[in-house]
Amino acid sequence: MASMSMSLHAVNHRLTNIPVKQLPSIASCLATSLSNCGELLSAPQNQKSKSESENAVQVHKLMTRLASLLQDKSPEGRWTAVVLVKAVVEAGQWEVLRGCEPFVRGLIGILAKPDPNSTKKMSIVALTRIFHLTYQYPTLVREITTPSLPSFITAALNLISVKPSSEPIRKLKPHTPFLEIVLNALGELIARHPTIFRPFSSQIHSILQVIIGSTSPTFPQTVLDSAERLFISLHHCAPKNTSGEEWRSACQMIIASIHGTADYVLRAIVEQWESLDPALRQASKPQNYSREVGDDGLDTLGLAGWHGLDSGVNRIVVLLQMLSTCLTTATASMVTIPIGSILDLASRLTAVVVPSNGRDVQANPQISRTEREHLFAELPRIHISCMKLLLSLVEALETGAVPLAQTILEQTLWVYRAEKFSQEVRVSAYDLIHALLTRMGPSLTKPGLSSLADMIRTSCHDLLPPAHEHSASAKASSDLKAKAKFNQTTVNADSFLNPGLKQARQSNALPFSGLQRAASGLLAAVLIHAPTEYLSPSLRAEIDRTIILTSNKHAMLASVSNPVPAVQGRGVNASIMPFLARSFPAEMEVEGLIRPRMPVLMNTPGISGFINTEEEEDEEEKEEEEDVPVTVAYTAPEHTGFLQPSSTPILHSDLMDTDVSDKPAAAQNKRSLVEDHKPLPPIRSSTEEAETDVQSKRPRVDSDITAVSSQPSLDRASPSTFTGTAAVSVPSPLTTVTSTPPPRVATVNAPSTGTVGGPLSSSAVAQTTPADAGEDDSDDDLPALNIDPDTEDEAEEEEDETMEG
């Protein structure tokens, strides 16, 4: 606090003593120290103590100085004041806001003064911020926002437009530098103060119409975006309870306007589409085919006419964007999204595609071929916007889009097949299919997924240009030599001289990051959501290859987590887990996947105990046996039922499980759950005699092993020695770990120590008696460190396979 009052003092000193002309250069430093004094500025000012009152004096001094600076003669002074006002308001919150009425007046005054552009821009931002911050305090809204917001709106509108008459219409000033910032500011405020904006809504509307409707000098995309957003937000100003209606009519006017424009733009072909909406069916007007394509009159939205195909396409693109803005902008209340009309529109626009082999488009004979070709060249742009609109729809509706998903999927694939030559079309299609897959992926049927195969393959190629290309070209050239000697074709000589060149260039030629992002997103979505059993093996191999070569961690994780399901008659399916483990050995996800920390036990009370358990488990994995007493200490001495105590962690190998499990199943059809969890080899489960028999033989083995391993540690006994000494004959070579049980356990005669698993762990069986968990009081449980030999096998096989493929 002391340092704060000190820096506040310093700020005041500098503000008053340094010549105004030199203030701008230190304004940034002053603002920084002011925003660090937030606690001081926002402190209530009615405190009694001396230091507090001293601070209050300083704050008051600062405010007065700032207010006078705002009225300063020099532009430097005003500029500095604007910067500092914003800093003070942000830092001081309510305490400053309540006294900021003079600031607001001064800032609005600046907008009318011949100040530099940056001063005005910053004033707009600062004012918007003040109005924004006051919103949560009704008293401040009444005192500050309500009186001054109208004058701010007028001043801001005056910056970008002129009001010629008393009519509520404004004319846009050309080339004004403030357009974007004013639109953003209004857009920020309109939703919160709809009633204050209501008188201005028609003025704003007239400006926005010009911006959105202008075709020849088009505005930058950012301006268009903010204008569209503000246009949609105008529905907030609608009188009571009609905002939803207003929104809906805006939506429908946009849709109608697109239909109207499309009537002209698509005139070069005969459309097969027929609207589902009876109102639209007879709507198309007769056209004059001899004129250049264009629309003279105002359309449904009141946008000006346009001429030329490019302008028409631009208009459609802008309107489609606006429609998707409708779906991504917050609304005032409940609205009714006309999904049917939107999909109807989308089906009209996507029905017309660039003709490709097998799919011809019926041409309109009255229109010249050049216009038709021009239209085909422009079609991808329309389709890109269309797919973006559908993407916004899917993202806005989430589960509500489920009934539409299949319809949209088919529309997208239709466009994609015809226009995949365009990168932009591919990007949009990948994004859209990605969004759809997350909704409906699991219920994809086999034909549904195979219709996506082409797209998946192309996305692989987008990430990684096919490598076999130049061998093919080499082959083609050799063919040429053989067949047609006379036919001298020019062959790229560089590709012969430097075989690596072509491929290198191709992979470098695609720095188009959007495409890469979309393609890798699609691949991951396919792996995660689509039913993997329906993916053809070759396609799956291609996906795996692509994601390995591009080191796509997310997709690789997805591939490992969704392995190819086993099919009868085929070998073991490979997993790309080794690649993942090699590429990202230090990543948490990979660690969690390969060495799962699945908490098996939940017998500690409360959340904290539970978390402790996990930590302990981690420790145990490092320190193995030393932790046993600790575990006993923290686990609650509860009657744990069938939770099996095992005082020694056992590296358990389960290769035998399949062999053995049938026998006990046959022997005893119903086993208790307890036994089930630690299937005992038939020898032991049969008679106690056999058990003792084993026991009599066991100690020798144990002593052998303890002799070898002085530490109580995990040890890998060689299969030969193991099978030689164990009573159980093991048919296959196995890696087994025998753990030397601590003597304490042996004396306690804790049941079931180390009996988990198959007969392999029988080395530890020596001290065990058949489990009777019911009477078991000790419930210390150590999680087993499970090392999965299957996975390793699989991994190696996968490696082989990928090498081959």
Binding site: K86, E90, A330, I337, S392, D431, P442, M602, K678
Partner: protein, 576 residues
């Protein structure tokens, strides 16, 4: 603040609740943590088990012995609608857990009705169950519905396929539309409860209990049995651990039991261990967690807290008990609603910051179902979305689509807006502008950029054209200048040539002058000689005359001499 609530619904019984606040109450919203107390209630409802569904905005309660569903608004806290259906509803579930857009209803007649609460569309399936559908769940991916019936079978339905306007291309045999995609019939008696695991992947599991004292964990994507559990008695209710490590069952006698799925220290996931799948496991009856008193009645419903450490059970005598999962025993009685507690749903934590789970839209009111006419006449415009299909909702957040590359540019405003004062770029821009402002001639310069800018802008077009014309002029002038240049170069060449000619001519003239001079000199000389000769002749004549000799003869002699002389001199001259 973080708080955890549950919603419980009761079946009206003859008993009268002790407290006045619970009179006539059918559904209770109860805070469980941090301080257990009743938050709010909804009245006039009587729901049997599995007949309560909760969405973020609404509570749906199918009424016992009636063919109606009550809809309560959670925002307003009142009853919003009473929806009649053609058949009695025996179970309901919500699909689209985030927004709760689709309500799935299982009917007395064994079919499902799907009602899109935001559009009013209603789709019915085939009556594939032979008995009433008593339990319904929707999996986390919102793709599959599992319906259990008292005919001992569980059907798996594809939610997408039922709802989709365009039917999915099916690889299956010809089957009536809207029929189940799979049937699980390993149970031998009426299904009491079904639960699905908490995964959206295809390795998710389902657990079902039936009156034949079995509980089966199975894979609903394939219909494969993963594990069979022979329970000590018939389970009434079922809940699954949030991490799918265990499931909990409630029994007729009010006791509860946990069945852990991870027990064996197997290298494989125990459920996917083929060796164990054929063998049923038998949790022992002694492991049941016994209720505090014998008069609790059946545990109709079970629900787990967010952390999975506390189990809540609703009982016949109206009590809601909490059980400690770790200690495996009864912990406390949370509430007493007098009437049998038939449904118990734990609500997600309030106050947890989870951007991914934030609602992007909310439906304040539901759209009542209407009969979907397009479905019956499938021939008409097959698969098309009807034009009057609309979706009522309130969009909450302005999300800019991720694919817009222009977003960073628009962020200039938002960046400045949210900054503590102004971003560096803006400050620097301003400083530069101020510096430009202070150029010498400040007063005019001050005005010029701003004031004249507007003016400039307006007649910029005019200036443009002016500039164009000026440029044209310049071009022509340049052309002329080059032509001139060329011409000048040409003339200078000529002049130099003429000059040299002149010099030559001068030289020639000089030469001629010299020659003329010479010629004159010689002429004068000749004259002089001639005169001399004349004089000499005359003198000689005079002399001869004086001597008396004939002067003429002398003269003739002299002439002869002279011709010789002159010829000599002439020769000399010609030599010269």
């Amino acid at each position: 603040m973080l708080s955890e609530c549950f919603i419980a619904s009761t079946l009206t019984s003859g008993k009268v609740p002790a407290s006045a606040s619970l009179r006539d109450v059918g559904i209770c919203l109860h805070e469980f943590q941090p301080s257990p107390n009743l938050r709010s209630t909804f009245k006039k409802s009587s729901t049997p088990a599995n007949c309560l569904a909760v969405s973020p905005s609404h509570v749906y309660a199918a009424q016992a012995e009636k063919a109606i569903v009550h809809v309560y608004s959670r925002e307003k806290g009142n009853q919003e609608a009473v929806i009649p259906f053609p058949e009695r509803i025996r179970s309901i579930a919500i699909a689209g857990s985030k927004n709760g857009d689709v309500l799935v209803l299982g009917t007395e007649g064994g079919r499902l009705i799907l009602w899109e609460t935001c559009t009013g569309r209603q789709v019915a399936t085939t009556a594939s169950h032979l008995s009433p559908v008593t339990t319904l769940v929707v999996d986390l991916s919102d793709n599959f519905i599992l319906s259990g019936s008292s005919d001992a079978s569980i059907h798996v339905w594809s939610l997408i396929d039922i709802l989709s306007f365009t039917k999915l291309p099916s690889g299956r045999d010809r089957q009536p539309p809207n029929s189940p995609i799979r049937t699980f019939s390993n149970h031998r008696a009426a299904i009491t409860s079904v639960a699905v695991g908490h995964s959206s992947s295809r390795y998710n599991i389902a657990v079902s209990t039936a009156q034949d004292n079995t509980a089966i964990a199975w894979d609903y994507h394939t219909g494969r049995v993963l594990r069979t559990f022979l329970m000590p008695s018939s389970a009434v209710s079922l809940a699954l651990d949030p991490v799918d490590r265990a499931f909990y069952v409630g029994y007729e006698d009010g006791s509860v039991q946990s069945v852990e799925l991870y027990k064996a220290q197997s290298i494989q996931h125990p459920l996917h261990d083929l060796s164990l799948q054929s063998t049923p496991a038998q949790p022992s009856a002694e492991d049941k967690w016994s209720p505090p008193s014998a008069d609790c009645g059946p545990a109709h419903s079970l629900s787990l807290s967010y952390d999975g450490m506390t189990l809540l059970s609703g009982h016949q005598n109206g009590k809601v008990l909490s059980w400690n999962v770790g200690r495996k025993k009864y912990a406390s009685t949370v509430a007493d609603y007098t009437h049998p507690v038939t449904n118990l749903l734990m609500l997600p934590l309030a106050g947890l910051s989870q951007p991914a789970h934030e609602l992007k839209r909310v439906a304040h009111t539901i759209v009542k179902p209407r009969y979907d006419s397009t479905l019956s006449e499938s021939s008409h415009a097959a698969g098309a979305v009807p034009a009057d299909y609309t979706f009522s909702t309130h969009l909450l957040t302005s999300t800019s689509s991720k694919s817009t590359t222009t977003s960073e540019r628009t962020n200039q405003f938002t960046e400045a807006f949210t900054h503590a004062f102004f971003p560096v770029s803006m400050i620097e821009e301003g400083l530069a502008e101020l510096a430009a402002f202070n150029q010498p001639g400040a007063s005019t310069a001050q005005l010029s950029p701003v004031v004249t800018q507007a003016a400039n802008d307006e007649d910029l077009a005019a200036k443009d054209s002016h500039i164009a014309s000026l440029e044209n002029e310049i071009a022509t002038l340049k052309k002329k200048a080059t032509a001139d240049n060329a011409a000048r170069q040409l003339t200078t060449g000529e002049v130099t040539k003429l000059r040299s000619d002149l010099v030559n001519l001068h030289d020639y003239i000089n030469e001629l002058h010299q020659m003329q001079d010479q010629a004159q000199k010689q002429k004068v000389l000749r004259q002089a000689r001639k005169e001399e000769r004349e004089t000499r002749k005359r003198e000689a004549w005079f002399a001869a005359e004086k001597k008396g000799k004939k002067g003429d003869a002398v003269l003739r002699r002299m002439d002869a001499e002279e011709t010789a002389q002159t010829s000599d001199s002439d020769d000399q001259n010609s030599d010269e």
